[in-house]
């Protein structure tokens, strides 16, 4: 029975590679949308190009949900807590930045940076939690 199950270490590596690939695809799509947007093209083409990174994010989300379902209860709990803390931290950072921009003329934080900030915080929290339960 056990030999039929995929090795968890191998699965983890495959997931890490997939996520890196999706991150790379997202970055590539952002650069693609940016380069198309800089050209003299119709609004429709620009719109479609801008949809490319959004579509990659959609695939990424679907993959993440699928991966979550394959985790056991401790790993899933770690993921949920990391997501919750990272999401809340990102909201606080975005709000703090907005207040600084509003009242102190600080440079505005573009909304496009909120997700990478949240992702970085999420990665740190998750690493700490995995280390704690190692």
């Amino acid at each position: 029975m056990s030999s039929m199950k995929p090795d968890r270490s191998l699965t983890r590596i495959v997931h890490a590679v997939m996520e890196l690939g999706l991150a790379g695809a997202f970055l590539g799509a952002v650069f693609f949308a940016d380069s198309v947007g800089a050209r003299d093209v119709s609004a429709t083409v620009r719109f479609l190009a801008a949809l490319t990174p959004v579509a990659v994010l959609g695939v990424w989300l679907g993959y993440y949900v699928w991966r979550l379902r394959a985790l056991d209860e401790l790993q899933r709990s770690i993921e949920y807590r990391s997501l919750a803390l990272a999401g809340w931290a990102a909201v606080l950072i975005a709000t703090g930045s907005g207040i600084m921009t509003l009242f102190a003329d600080a440079p505005a934080l573009a909304p496009v940076f909120v997700a990478p900030i949240a992702a970085a915080i999420y990665a740190v929290i998750r690493a700490v939690m995995f280390w704690r339960y190692k």
Binding site: K5, R8, D72, E73, L74, Q75, S77, F130, Y133, K134
Partner: protein, 62 residues
């Protein structure tokens, strides 16, 4: 939460990986339960009890 998981596992000569495999969870989860860092869900506690042929309260104590 204290538990007798490590002792029960040792009695059967199972490694953490073997027990994890039998319960379909990660070795990390078994280790976290054994060290008291993580309290398993009720379904997992029932699976453990069933696997070792004990009642849940014989394995876990508050």
């Amino acid at each position: 939460m204290k538990n007798a998981l490590r002792q029960l596992r040792a009695e059967r000569g199972w490694s953490q990986a073997r027990l994890a495999d039998l319960l379909d969870v990660s070795r990390q989860t078994i280790n976290a339960i054994e060290t008291g860092k993580y309290d398993p869900s009720l379904p997992l506690a029932f699976k453990l009890a069933q696997l070792f042929g004990r009642r849940i309260e014989e394995i876990f104590e508050a």
